[in-house]
Point group: C2
């Protein structure tokens, strides 16, 4: 078995209990043109040069893990100030080819229109992939993505978190497509419409889409204040 040692400032080597390297990997979801998407980066150097993976990397020794997730996402993809939530740690001893590396998964739901993606740091490229067109990813990143997607599926039924993926103003068709994509099912438009409007969660903006080639649809907005008030009165979101 390998032994782990820490080099003190004095230069002395001190043996420590089992050591592992720790990384962060971020699953960032977006939604565009009716498709659920994931942000991936192509490695610009190292043993995985040219391959795609989740944005992530090493934690600095004096860095809190949430801060490391923020920093790595910013350095690799240009996304700054994203609400990232920890998923869990992935620790199969075989998950990394060289030595023991445990990774802590994070995920985020973002409004695509609010952010520009710019590859940086060790990433030679950063771009969105449709959930149905995800390539083979490095290490266990496909597994981390699957785990995150399953959690999103469960949560999107229990709380109105899907709205974080939509533009501020959206149509009922966009909302339905979002649910169809996340849950991987087909829905009936009139039923969906009735169900969602009955919840009284949406604000009718009395506005219609502009510059569209088809018949312009009505625009709605999700209002978190309304949701909180409904919840206080015993309303429970369920989809």
């Amino acid at each position: 078995m390998k032994k782990a040692l820490i080099k003190e400032e004095s230069g002395d080597l001190v043996e420590t209990p089992v050591m592992s390297s720790i990384t962060i990997d971020c699953v960032v979801f977006g939604f565009e043109n009716g498709s659920l998407e994931i942000l991936l980066v192509k490695h610009g150097r190292g043993i995985r040069k040219g391959e795609w993976g989740l944005p992530g990397g090493w934690i600095k020794e004096d860095e809190a893990i949430d801060a490391a997730a923020q920093r790595l996402l910013r350095e690799l993809t240009g996304l700054d100030n994203i609400y990232l939530e920890q998923l869990k740690a992935f620790g199969d001893p075989e998950r990394f080819p060289v030595g023991r590396v445990i990774t802590i998964g994070y995920n985020a739901l973002i409004k695509r229109e609010d952010y520009n993606v710019i590859a940086g740091f060790t990433a030679s490229e950063a771009r969105w992939f449709k959930i149905k067109e995800i390539p083979d990813l490095i290490y266990d990143h496909n597994e981390i993505l699957d785990y995150s997607l399953k959690r999103l599926r469960r949560r999107v039924r229990q709380a109105p978190i899907g709205f974080n993926l939509l533009p501020e103003k959206f149509t009922l068709l966009q909302l339905m497509q979002l649910y169809e994509e996340i849950l991987d099912i087909e829905m009936d438009k009139p039923n969906f419409r009735r169900k969602i409007l009955r919840m009284k969660l949406l604000v009718d903006l009395n506005e219609k889409q502009k510059d569209v080639s088809h018949r312009a649809a009505k625009l709605y907005q999700f209002d978190n204040t309304i949701y909180r008030k409904l919840t206080e009165k015993g309303f429970s979101f369920e989809f």
Copy 2:
């Protein structure tokens, strides 16, 4: 900054990216005599000798993290084959006094009657503490416990997981006390009774308590098959 090195089998020292030690800590909930309880261990050696903490310790280099959680809980407390679920990783760089240590929290809900607690390994003592009588714990263990308790509070409202803490056969009063303890609220017995019986989740065993000093109450059982069937029909547990 300290440097981390790996000693290869050849004896060579190889510098690696940022290294951290990784531990596991388990929050095990039980319920007895109307009180929600947590299993704690007293450290029998090391710098924290004589102090109480969550059962946990170092992960072995070739060990999956779920397996490490099972092993540590078994070695320290005698609890074997427990359904442990990962909470998340706790990684404040200051959480551990000597070097960087990230810990991965786990939690479990168990039926107290099914298990005997036996202290072992580095624990000189292992016993249950009422949730309202938790002492100051080592490192950030009080914080991990709080996080776990908040998650339990949220989940117990969304799914019938509380039954994992009750004996196979229980009274409605026990069930109500369980919810009162977890949610830290007082409930109205007739209301609780109506609400829970209306859900049709419980099996009336047509049996009564035995050997009790007060009036014997009816015994019920939770049936997961019934819950699954109700869920398929669109039932959603909500408390």
